[in-house]
Symmetry: C2
Subunit: 388 residues, 2 copies
Amino acid sequence: MLFSKEEYKERLKKVQKSMQEKGIELLISSDTANMNYLTGYDAWSFYYAQCVIVHVNSDEPLCFVRAQDAGGAYITTYLKKENVIVYHEKYIHTWPLHPYDYLVEIIKERKWDKLNVGLEMDSHYFTAYCYEKIKQGLPNAKLKDSERLVNWTRVVKSGTEIKLMKCAASISEKGMKTAMNAINPGVRQCDAVAEIQKTLFMGTPEFGGEYSSIATLLPTGKGTSASHLTASQEKFVTGEATIIEISGVYKRYHVPMARTVLLGKPEQKKIDAMKATNEALDAGIEATKPGNTTNDVAQKFWAVLDKHNIKKESRTGYSIGIGYPPDWGEHTLNISKGDETILQPNVCFHMIAVMQFGDWGVEASESVRVTKNGSELFCNYSRDLHIK
Amino acid sequence: MLFSKEEYKERLKKVQKSMQEKGIELLISSDTANMNYLTGYDAWSFYYAQCVIVHVNSDEPLCFVRAQDAGGAYITTYLKKENVIVYHEKYIHTWPLHPYDYLVEIIKERKWDKLNVGLEMDSHYFTAYCYEKIKQGLPNAKLKDSERLVNWTRVVKSGTEIKLMKCAASISEKGMKTAMNAINPGVRQCDAVAEIQKTLFMGTPEFGGEYSSIATLLPTGKGTSASHLTASQEKFVTGEATIIEISGVYKRYHVPMARTVLLGKPEQKKIDAMKATNEALDAGIEATKPGNTTNDVAQKFWAVLDKHNIKKESRTGYSIGIGYPPDWGEHTLNISKGDETILQPNVCFHMIAVMQFGDWGVEASESVRVTKNGSELFCNYSRDLHIK
């Protein structure tokens, strides 16, 4: 078991406390990262409906998975076998049959069908279809959005979680070093990713890497104006910039990192944009300490951009920890003006400056941990525009 | 452009025909693979709400993406710039604000708010929240499930699509060869995946690989009873079996392959199970031809299992083509008893036999293309239990 049973129990208690505060008696948690957080469940089975069910008074959550994945649940969760609820294979992609038909049955059997039920309304895999099954199947339940209460519980990390994130950070550093070496004029983008992926999976001798919840992002040339482009088989071109965004992953914990490399002749506007970006990141990180808010961090960041007359409308960071595709963000705090989340020790966020200027862009980031008195960076890797 | 404009137009026409048949005047397509199919859009941006909007009489679809991804849409889609609809960054993870607030505005502006609107109700990223925004924002629209009509349009591949899949197949073969070489007693699972990933991304000199929509699945030992477990940093152990499930990917087209390797002493029950599985796969493939149904294929498959007294409750295949995380299946036909989809030339499916026997299992698969008179396999790779 990755975490002690006590740590899992503590997580459950925190979630149940939050449920009480929100008037939720039964929580259906479909977010893959939340499922992992609450039970340890870890498998690539999230392309079918699955969830964790938390009753406000229960000693353990229930893990609701497909029959084919029952073995995975027995292996990866801390739960008693009876708390792994297995649905039949007949529900797999045979609409209008649906796994949540069985979920509704289970809830009725346990006489939970008149409770206040919390749903993760905008969780990636909680589809409209799942929702309709619950609405129609549990007409007496009072449904409400749980407003990411499990995600919010995840925001402050335990000591063990921080240790795992530090392992992930050391993998990120190695991955970025490989990327910087592999990206050269005439090299196919896919061949650079091949080397990056190899490094990220090998990790370190002590800490093996895992699949990341976002693919290696590698926009290049004009593509640097679009931060979420992935690699193609086209070759890198002299004179063009490439943005690299990766994450080392250890036991599903992510510590992402973004950097920009410029091949060939230095271009002053890109050098200047990168410098201003880094100055802004530094200003934000400087303001990161317990008691300050994410808005305080954002204000300092944007003050530097304003000084340099740079416009940026997108948020410049988000909370990180456990991740599953399609996202490594926790869907809680944002580093943006007006987000008034109060920082606490062991809140961790990816402060990422995606800077777009028409048909080009630069990017850099730091994964930051709030400490007792300030903050520390997970990774140690220059953010300068890497010119080669 | 990957496909000719004519091919995109033809896809659109087929989808519009299907919309007419179902009485849908406006389709909101949130499935990432459908978005790619209809417009060419390709970026790892599906962790935010996005969609393609198809009016039944329009010349082009609309592609609805986040501002930060506008550049990616201009680069990767065939659409006129005016048909890329960009929503503001203020909607990113700032609930109760939501991108679909703006989607509703767009639909109202165009006076489409009283139409019969088709929704992909169980598409992975069409969340309950998106659905509520549409329901509340378009009270006069008649909402209905599109029942995967775009997915069904994708089932029969064009000549160009088949060519891309053959490229993906050659990458799958290379990946599996690497896996079989890399998996040895004492090797960390993550190190084997590092080699596999490197191979899959490098692809061939002509065809570079891409990220797969499912991570390398590598259940080993007791884990072979659970088909969706991914690699850890534990080492492979003499005497244990490992299932390898991978896919080569080319231009987002997937051709998956599963095999099983046994390290050390041959174990008769696993050899026998593998033989029976392969006999069943062969029987199913033998029955694959235009005019036959998926049920016909399934009946032949299960007849062999029955003969060997092997019970298997899960479906044994599904349609394949374009894929994005979390799935490479098309969510249309299943190879299972009772699925009466009639096979046509250029229908492609992954016929995969996940065989679980308590605390162990074996697995093998073929990606199959229906031809004019029968079928052909995309890959050429022995399905025998690989003993080393």
